[in-house]
Each structure stands twice: as C-alpha cells, then as structure tokens.
C-alpha cells in the first residue's frame, strides 16, 4: 500500500512539473465500434495509438499507477504493472515510446474485473513507458521512464 502511494506520488510529482508547459486539450469520446487491432499495433506515436484506439487526446492522470523498475537489467524482460483508480476503467494499454511499434499490449477490463494488470514487456532501449487508460469513453495517460542497461559480460 505504502509502496503504491509512494509510486503514485513520484509519478504525480514528475508529471506535475509540466503543469505550466502543458496546453489544455479537450477529450473527445472514443468511437464505439470495434478496434482495428492490426492498425493499432502498427502505430508509431502516442497520438496515433490513441487515434487507433478510438480517441483523440489523453489527459495526464495521477490515478494511473505504473509499477516498474527505474532500470531494467535486461530489456528483453521488463516487468510492468498498471493499476487504474479511474472509475469505469474499460481498458489498460501499455505503450513503449522508443520501440519500433508503440503498443505492447491492451487489456479489456469487463465490469467486476479490477483495473489492475501485470505483464512483462520488451524494450529495445531506454524509453518512456506509457500506461493509457480508457475510462467511460475518455483516455488518460501516465508515464514512467525505464532505463535499459547492459547486464553481464557483454559480447
């Protein structure tokens, strides 16, 4: 619990510094029709992914908690868990900014399932990882930088 709260504060503080820089945007409700997953998995930027998932922009949210290491000893396996405290969370997506394609995984959360998922992803290099949450038709995002370093003997 403490751990989570601390993470939440960290994430919040990191994003908070932006406040002044940030342009305020409006959210348009996501499309209701079925996703074109093939297209979504080929997107190369956050706005394109959001668009492919049926949205326009995403709001920064402190209610999304990313639990992941600050440094990954091996980019092939980076544990990432996302918890959303946003009511009516419908889906949680994990995006890796510097990967050849952005979207790593999307989880659809039916009613009764907690908006809390964990998996492991590949990262080609140090990058921001985004957790994109769709809740009540709107998109929200949080980010965390994960450094990828070289572990063993090299070669």
């Amino acid at each position: 619990m403490d751990q989570r709260r601390r993470k939440a504060l960290q994430t919040g503080a990191g994003l908070g510094t932006l406040g002044a820089l940030v342009a305020v945007g409006l959210i348009s409700p996501g499309d209701a029709h079925a996703q074109d997953w093939k297209a979504a998995f080929e997107t190369r930027s956050l706005p394109d992914t959001i668009k492919a998932l049926g949205g326009a922009t995403a709001a920064e949210s402190k209610d999304i908690i990313i639990t992941a290491p600050d440094i990954a000893e091996n980019g092939a396996v980076v544990p990432v868990a996302v918890v959303s405290a946003i009511p009516k969370t419908e889906s949680i997506s994990i995006l890796i900014e510097k990967n050849p394609t952005l979207l790593a995984a999307s989880f659809m959360i039916p009613a009764g399932t907690e908006p809390s998922v964990g998996t492991r992803v590949k990262m080609g290099q140090t990058s921001n990882v985004f957790a994109l949450v769709k809740a009540d038709g709107k998109f929200f995002v949080a980010s965390k930088e994960i450094k990828v370093t070289l572990g063993g003997c090299g070669g």
């Binding site: 394609t101 659809m108 009764g112 907690e114 809390s116 998996t119 590949k122």
Partner: protein, 103 residues
Amino acid sequence: MADPMKIRATLQGDTVEVRVLMQHEMETGQRKDAAGKTIPAWHIQQVTATNNGKTVLSAQWGPAVSKNPFLSFKFKGGAKGDKVQITWTDNKGDKRTDEVAVS
C-alpha cells in the same frame, strides 16, 4: 503442439488473483538469424480469460510482450472451485486453452 500454461487462481478476500505463465517464443519479426535472414514474427495476439464461462479479461498483444509471457490480473465475484480458463491465440493461428480451479 504448444506446451501447457501454468495457471494459479487464488481467492484473497472477495478477489480472485490470477497469475499465468505461457510458453511461447514471442518472436518479434525484427530479429535476424545467423544467416542474416529475418525470423518471421510469431507471437500471441489474443488472450481471453473466463471464470465459469464468463469473460473476466481479454487482451490484445503485440510482439513486445516478453518471451514465455507472464500475466496477472484480479477479478471479483469468484468462489473456490470456480473454473478459470485461459485461452491464447497466436498470429499463426495456434491456440491453447488451460484451466484451473480457484483455490
């Protein structure tokens, strides 16, 4: 044929915690073999989880999910003895379903 998954589903209070390990290459389609030939993409695309037949999670995965994938999630409304079933489908059309009772 694909190897079985290892599934754990445990009831903690009113929440069932599910942890799954799947055996899969999760080949990205970006790597080259020793001869310099691109190794074609081969990865799980879709995962669905049901509890006594009711969908409790579905997921779409790309090749960036790690090899031998791990998945954890939680749902409410389950009871001991319920059947949690996980199915994955990969981009070659291979499919695997395994089941475990909530303990």
